[in-house]
């Protein structure tokens, strides 16, 4: 690999300068390219649009008020998404519906191997069989059925196309954990989406069996 690119875009650096000098409008210009990514990150943790929007707004406001602290060591987008993830987790903790759902990161990925459930060979990408909208819905439904720690990684890596490093930074976990969780998320998605015996598209069960090695 050659010389690393400077993480901060020259145009972004200029916008940040202007915001720090009091130009509020410039901040919106800074954030606008990442609105969808912020929303997607929020919904990956909260799983519903109303909460996701609320958290997205709070995250953007928080980024605005702490912009002076942004040092430019990471990409602005990574920093913004990191704030979003933290706000979403905070909300999850406060929300009584999730009282018993563990939000704190485990010390290590302690689970056993995930064994694929289905060995049907579907070499063809089944998107021809579905309207594009149906496919989007089926994918989102399957994503929503994943455990939160897998859902977060899958959305950042495979939907938002963050690198492993960026994802690790945004979520506050190791790169090794990102890879392990991504593996499980992808295998579970495959099982959720695998065509049924008659070949028709099924969105699969909401829960995923975890098979432990003997």
């Amino acid at each position: 690999m050659g010389v690393a690119k400077p993480p901060l875009d020259a145009n972004e650096a200029e916008l940040i300068q202007r915001v720090c000098q009091g130009d509020k409008e410039a901040f919106y210009g800074l954030v606008r390219p990442y609105e969808r990514a912020v929303y997607a990150a929020a919904i990956s943790i909260l799983n519903n649009p109303a909460d996701a929007e609320e958290v997205a707004q709070e995250a953007v406001l928080k980024a605005f008020s702490s912009l002076a602290r942004f040092r430019g060591e990471a990409k602005f987008s990574t920093w913004l998404i990191q704030i979003t993830i933290n706000e979403a987790r905070l909300k999850l903790r406060k929300d009584r519906r999730h009282l018993y759902e563990s939000v704190d990161e485990p010390r290590s990925d302690e689970e056993g191997d995930y064994f694929p459930q289905d060995f049907a060979d579907w070499r063809e990408v089944p998107s021809e069989a579905l309207q594009r909208k149906e496919l989007g819905q089926a994918l989102k439904h399957a994503i929503a059925g994943l455990a939160p720690k897998y859902r977060e990684v899958l959305i950042l890596r495979d939907v938002q196309h963050f690198s492993t490093e960026e994802t690790a930074r945004a979520l506050g976990i190791s790169e090794g954990n990102v890879k392990t969780r991504l593996l499980r998320a992808r295998l579970q998605m495959r099982d959720a989406l695998a065509p049924g015996i008659d070949g028709s598209w099924t969105t699969g069960k909401a829960e995923y069996k975890k098979v432990r090695p003997w």
């Binding site: 954030v31 406001l61 064994f115 060995f119 060979d121 998107s127 593996l183 992808r186 295998l187 495959r190």
Partner: protein, 77 residues
Amino acid sequence: MSMIEISCVEVWREISNYIDAAIDPELRARMEAHLKVCAHCTAVLDGTRNVVKLLADGVEYDLPQGFSQRLYSKLKD
């Protein structure tokens, strides 16, 4: 030259890194040798690759109507 065989479980463990081309050449070679003769693992690989492809093209989290305006007006306050 003998190549150490790997099991299906090991293949599944590395399948995601394999798809991302994030494994070392030796492991890659062992996996490819295994995939040549194992229909199950080939099915898992193809299916998982498809998932990644589908996610890349097929999922968009559309912003709710008026999201940008509401965000912008919150910023202005």
